[in-house]
Amino acid sequence: MRFWPLSRRRTDLSKAKGRRRLIAALPVAGLLLVAPVAAALAQDAGGQSILIGYLGRQEDPRTPASFLEPVATDEGLQGARLALADNNSTGMFLNQSFRLVEQVLPPDGDIAAGLKALADEGVRFVVADLPGDALLAVADRPEARSMLLFNARAPDDALRNEQCRANILHTAASRRMLADALAQYLAWKKWTGWSLLIGRDPGDALYADAVRRAAKRFGGRIVAEKSWTFDTGNRRTDTGVTTIQSDIPLATQGPDYDVLVVADEAGNFGDYLDGRTWHPRPVAGTQGLIATAWSRVNEQWGGTQLQSRFEKLAGRWMLPRDYAAWLAVRSVGEAATRTSATGFDDLVAYLHSPDFELAGFKGEALSFRKWDGQMRQPILIAGPRMLVSVSPQEGFLHPVTPLDTLGDDAPESKCRFNR
């Protein structure tokens, strides 16, 4: 928290800089309107400026059960801001500059209007920090036809299959990628008997679907399934703890298993499970031993630098949604660096090409799957305080890249782009 004053100052500075750039860009942009691709660009005094939009909605912050976790009111956005700074540090040497156009709407704000505002400013790359339904609604707007959206939040597998869109790339990991990553690790441990405990949110049921699919793929056995039907305790009162202590043994009673796999994406109850279950067995899934695209516990592969840069900027640690937004903005930066181009079509072509590779602090290059636009990436297997492993696990083979053992591989994808 001691970083707050610093980060606020930095934010103000970056905003001021952004405003200055915008003012500088206005007259030149007017001159360029005749050129068809010019909408994506604005000319800076010294070089070309690439605009990247950020589209999200204000919402109440997730309240983590643990007091050690940060409460973030700017999840996602700070990742995009850090990547913008990284892009501009590199761009400095290539006479390229990047500007983030932030459209964070009020809780009941009209997302379509937000997209229109971005389009009116000439933005064609948009980082979408939106749930799945809002993302699809935006992707199908007429303005989005000449845009590329990055799904930096929604883990829904349908978005990578039946409901896929050619104008979306997914930097957020899908539920299937997370479940497969965890399943591979549990298979490697030979902890194959799973009891599944499912929360009440719609996302929890989808997470459970992904876990069932992963069990089939990697040899897990689901020995029991239960729904969480209890109230969660109040984290700040002793009555909460008393209730939860008597509720959890009931909720987890049943046939013996190796691991209790919990599906609780919002963190309503999952963190209370460990140490209170009926059977003395570990907890994994959305809490306990988790599969995640990013975690504070990772400092391997140069992760120290990313974590420390982020903490200086945001005054809190980097969360998976920040990481997905960072990947999205860095992807545009990487494409611009490699192609020396600023035109939208050139950059999009490169992002889709097999030459595209992004270093994402996970030990190998990240790239986009051509069949569904999903970014292939290693998935961390993390405990609450330590990194435990990284999937794909040794021994799960693939003819092209082991990374494609996580999530939907080409033959099983139901995505058919209507280009």
């Binding site: 590199t90 040497f93 630098q305 660096t337 490699r338 590779e357 992004l358 270093a359 890249t401 990374l403």
Partner: protein
């Protein structure tokens, strides 16, 4: 066992004396142990462990060969070790998180990459002071210097560039884009080329130092090792400029490259996650630091064989040889 070893050494001693004696000493920075392991080049035994600052990685010999400079990343300083006494005698102000550095050919300046700060710090060794900074790309790492000391090359891991820096003007004068996560930059002894390894890209870019263009990209392929595990890191070249050796990280291999054809001639299987490498003064041996298996591999370059592995301590990273 020890007595047997002693006997063997005793028996071997006259033979060694009859041949030109390999009197070199090998210094290895152990990232996890916060120590420098000292290995005797004759016996290939550890003779001392020198305690230094936290997370020692980059290591180099002073111009007169009497001292070691060691980047202690977690202590934000460069430790100076007196070799004769085996002790840290003082520290140099390196700026935050120093990982790698390079010594100017006259031995008076250290150029340090500050990984956390997008900066290269210049240290004046006689006055023990930081005398300047140069802004570079995101996560500066590798440092190479031209034989005449006029051009410094720094790599930045997230910007993916080799920055050419004029050491007089202390300014970036050129930038060359290379593959992902560039780690090490090394000038050829004739000053004509700069070799830059890319860890995630798994390649080495050979840059013409005059035109600052990539003239060759060297790729590696090892049967049975997946492409993602081939991660180029440390680079060394023989004095005659004919052979180059590249450490391939988690591929656990050293590649030998013919510098005329840029073809990979052979791969040596060494310990796990090989980071860096150094020649013996006669260039008949190559020593490699293997970060996961905690050992130093010794490659006999006359017989093209890995002849020994020496347990040196926790997470060996850098290596330097004193004649």
């Amino acid at each position: 066992m020890r007595s047997l070893l002693c006997t063997m050494l005793f028996l071997a001693a006259p033979v060694l004396i009859a041949e030109p004696v390999l009197a070199e000493t090998i210094f290895v920075s152990n990232e996890k142990d916060n120590q420098i392991a000292v290995v005797d080049g004759d016996s290939l035994q550890i003779t001392n462990k020198i305690k230094v600052g936290r997370r020692p990685r980059g290591i180099t010999l002073s111009g007169d060969g009497t001292q070691l400079y060691v980047c202690a990343g977690d202590d934000n300083r460069v430790d100076v070790v007196d070799i004769a006494s085996g002790k840290v005698v003082h520290s140099l102000p390196s700026g935050p998180d120093p990982e790698l550095f390079v010594l100017s050919p006259d031995g008076n300046r250290l150029y340090v990459a500050n990984e956390d700060d997008n900066m290269v710090t210049i240290i004046d060794i006689p006055s023990r002071k930081a005398i300047g900074n140069i802004q570079v790309g995101v996560e500066p790492e590798g440092m190479g210097i031209s034989p005449d000391g006029k051009i410094l090359v720094n790599t930045s891991e997230t910007t993916n560039m080799a920055h050419f820096i004029d050491t007089e003007k202390r300014a970036v004068v050129g930038n060359v884009l290379v593959d992902s996560r560039p780690r090490v930059a090394r000038f050829s002894d004739d000053g004509k080329h700069v070799w830059v390894s890319s860890e995630i890209g798994g390649t080495v870019s050979v840059i013409d130092a005059g035109t600052r263009k990539v003239v060759k990209k060297i790729r590696f392929e090892v049967t049975g090792v997946r492409r993602e595990a081939i991660q180029a890191v440390g680079i060394q070249m023989t004095r005659d400029g004919k052979r180059a050796f590249v450490a391939l990280g988690p591929a656990n291999r050293i590649a030998e490259i013919d510098t005329e054809s840029f073809e990979v001639k052979r791969y040596f299987l060494v310990g796990q996650r090989v980071w860096n490498l150094a020649f013996s003064p006669d260039e008949k041996r190559l020593y490699t630091t293997n970060g996961i298996s905690n050992d130093l591999s010794v490659i006999d370059l006359e017989r093209n064989k890995v002849i020994k592995s020496i347990a040196v301590g926790g997470a060996p990273w850098g290596v330097v040889v004193k004649p």
